[in-house]
């Protein structure tokens, strides 16, 4: 960020005020400094053969207590892919086949992915949800429905 993104995608200093890159550089520097500090703490702990400070642990679920708002735990990439892929496909498909079929297919796939095997219930949920949001968007808020329209 400091050597490529910020210099390349930030306007030149206009000659007055603070540089447009100043706050961006400061925020990235803070991130870099804090990351280095964490690494130093972990490195020191390893060097002195002491346990890694709990708050600097790579996976803080190793800590005994939960830290409040966050739900820490190991990353489940399979679950993440199972969930994100249909969402990305929806965004792509909606432009080609339109809102109604894309959203219906998305909801059916999503329900299957999370373990629903009751086809009638899944179909009812998908149809009702797609229809309700269609009506709310089109007639309630007057928002254009995304993608090509079938009707």
């Amino acid at each position: 960020m400091l050597t490529w993104a910020i210099p390349t995608y930030t306007p030149d200093y206009p000659g007055y005020g603070a540089s447009p890159a100043l706050v961006a550089n400061v925020s990235v520097s803070v991130m870099l400094f804090m990351a280095c500090l964490s690494l130093v703490r972990i490195g020191l702990a390893l060097y002195m053969k002491k346990p890694i400070p709990a708050e600097e642990s790579e996976f803080p679920e190793d800590m005994e207590e939960d830290s409040g708002f966050t739900q820490v735990g190991r990353v489940n990439l399979h679950h993440l892919a199972l969930f994100m892929v249909p969402c990305v496909l929806l965004v792509v498909a909606i432009d080609y086949i339109g809102y109604v079929p894309a959203a219906f297919a998305f909801l059916m796939i999503l329900q299957f992915a999370i373990g629903s095997r009751k086809w009638i219930q899944s179909t009812v949920v998908a149809v009702v949800l797609v229809a309700v949001l269609y009506v709310v968007m089109r007639y309630g808020f007057g928002v254009p429905i995304p993608g090509p329209q079938l009707f």
Partner: protein, 514 residues
């Protein structure tokens, strides 16, 4: 005086009343569902408020927030699964009462305590916000810059065990907040030649992605690991005494409620602490001062009252720093700040001058929301109890699809849906690796204001870096910022040492045992 009357009349207009009512009802319903909390609800519903007048929109969102605070108690009492983090202490006494068949009594106590705490804090907000804002008007760009720096530092500690991670998250939030048009040169910055980024990232897709979408990914992860699936215990006893809360039972705890409300107001008025802190602090004080200490944790109405009055008192009080200084003290208020900005208002002391009528309208809506909460809670309790039993297989697809279409609704743009997915993905990893998404969001929201204040300081002072030393308030605030950072690091190191000693002692003990 005319402004006050006009504002209050606006707040009792039919449309305004209707949306405050809907906001409270939806808030209670959403808060009752485990895993969905107030800030999430606000993020999901902000796009809907695009189509409302500013007063109706803010009234609706404030009602939603107030409702969600009480709603969190429903699942806490019935399932021992707090719908919101601040309801955790409520579950300690609420659930044992449910097991005794007194769930309805516990919920009534939670409701009346919530309404009491909320009402008291709203009154305090109304009384002190305007005079404090008048004082805050004397603050110039150096003070504002120093104040935002302090707020970011304090808030960096929320939602994470490590201040390093908190500051990294806040830094990342600021960086993302800088994307868009640079204010001095009016040229694009950090847009990577993507034209949709020219006007910056909208709060709505970022907030929905970070708050709601990533949370749902995690909830689904737990659900598919077969960890979910609780059902409510016996809530409604046929015995009248077990169901109803008598005047005597309520008023015997009035001291606890007042103390809880005061704790909630104090905690809420300070940026960075939040409702869970108020709730636990009040519960702790109530237990220490109670004549029936032994009942705590086994079904004490006093414990429920202490927790609920304190966490609900935070709702009104947390608006004090927003209205007085333009600083959001917690996530829900940060979302409300975003809503204000979407409707063309910059929260802060100037609001009392520029939008006085609206401010009094909001005050009116806050009081009305408290009354609606009482009515809706009183007559809809049984209905809201059903919310905790909504099957996850139906609920989660609804929430996911609402997130996606909510992100679209703001600007009618599929690009915003992509942004929401990206931030959902980032939010998932932030939660997994204990990076504070609260600090990120507040950094993201405050970044433009922080940079604007900095630019003003640099231009006014003509690059004189000693300007802060000529402004005692700004210097004090910068000193406090420095103190907070040093203190937090020092505390982290000290706590780390204590944990290491404890771990070594435990290991030694285990070795002896072997």
């Amino acid at each position: 005086m005319d402004m006050i009357i006009a504002g209050l009349l606006d707040s009792i207009a039919p449309a305004s009343l209707m949306f405050v009512f809907i906001g409270v009802a939806v808030g209670v319903l959403i808060g009752a569902i485990p895993g969905i909390n107030g800030p999430m609800a606000i993020a999901l519903f902000i796009p809907v408020t695009y189509y409302m007048s500013p007063l109706t929109a803010i009234g609706f969102l404030v009602g939603l927030n107030k409702g969600a605070f009480f709603g969190g108690a429903v699942s806490a009492v019935l399932l021992r699964t707090p719908g919101t983090p601040e309801a955790a202490a409520t579950s300690w006494d609420g659930y044992p009462l449910t097991q005794q068949g007194k769930g309805e009594k516990a919920l009534r106590m939670a409701l009346y305590s919530s309404v009491a705490g909320d009402f008291i804090s709203t009154v305090v907000l109304i009384v002190i916000a305007a005079p404090l804002a008048a004082v805050a008007l004397f603050m110039g760009p150096p003070e504002i810059f120093a104040l935002i720096s302090l707020a970011l530092t304090v808030i960096a500690g929320i939602g994470t065990s490590s201040i390093c991670r908190g500051l990294m998250a806040a830094g990342f939030g600021i960086l993302v907040g800088l994307i868009g048009t640079e204010p001095v040169t009016a040229l694009p910055r950090l847009t990577f030649d993507i034209y949709q980024l020219g006007s910056g990232l909208s709060l709505i897709p970022v907030a929905i992605g970070l708050l709601a979408f990533s949370e749902i990914i995690l909830q689904l992860e737990k659900f598919t690991s077969k960890l979910g699936g609780q059902h409510a215990a016996n809530v409604f006893s046929s015995n009248r005494e077990d169901r109803l809360l008598s005047f005597k039972e309520f008023f015997s705890n009035i001291k606890t409620l007042l103390r809880g409300s005061m704790i909630g107001i104090g905690v809420g008025a300070m940026p960075g602490l939040g409702a869970p802190v108020a709730s636990f602090m009040s519960y702790d004080q109530a237990m220490k001062r109670s004549k029936k200490k032994e009942e705590f944790g086994k079904g004490s109405l006093e414990g429920i009252g202490a927790s609920e009055s304190a966490n609900s008192a935070v709702v009104g009080a947390s608006l004090i720093p927003l209205f007085v200084l333009g600083i959001p003290g917690n996530l829900a208020v940060a979302m409300l700040m975003g809503a204000f900005m979407i409707h063309g208002m910059q929260p802060g002391p100037l609001m009392f001058q520029e939008n006085a009528q609206l401010m009094y309208g909001i005050y009116g809506s806050l009081v009305i929301a408290s009354l609606f909460l009482l009515l809706i809670g009183r007559f809809g309790l049984r209905f809201f109890c059903k919310a905790v039993d909504i099957p996850a297989l139906i609920l989660y697809p609804i929430v996911v699809f609402t997130c996606i279409m909510g992100a679209y609704l703001g600007k009618s743009s599929m690009f915003d849906v992509s942004v929401m997915l990206v931030f959902g993905f980032i939010g998932y990893f932030m939660r997994k690796f204990d990076f504070s998404y609260v600090a990120f969001l507040i950094g993201f929201i405050l970044a433009p204001e922080w940079e604007r204040a900095l630019q003003q300081v640099v231009i006014i002072s003509e690059h004189d870096t000693f300007m802060f030393f000529q402004r005692p308030v700004a210097m004090t605030l910068m000193g406090l910022t420095f103190f907070v950072i040093v203190r937090t690091f020092w505390k982290g190191i000290k706590d780390g040492k204590v944990k290491q000693v404890e771990a070594a002692a435990a290991a030694a003990g285990q070795h002896k045992g072997d």
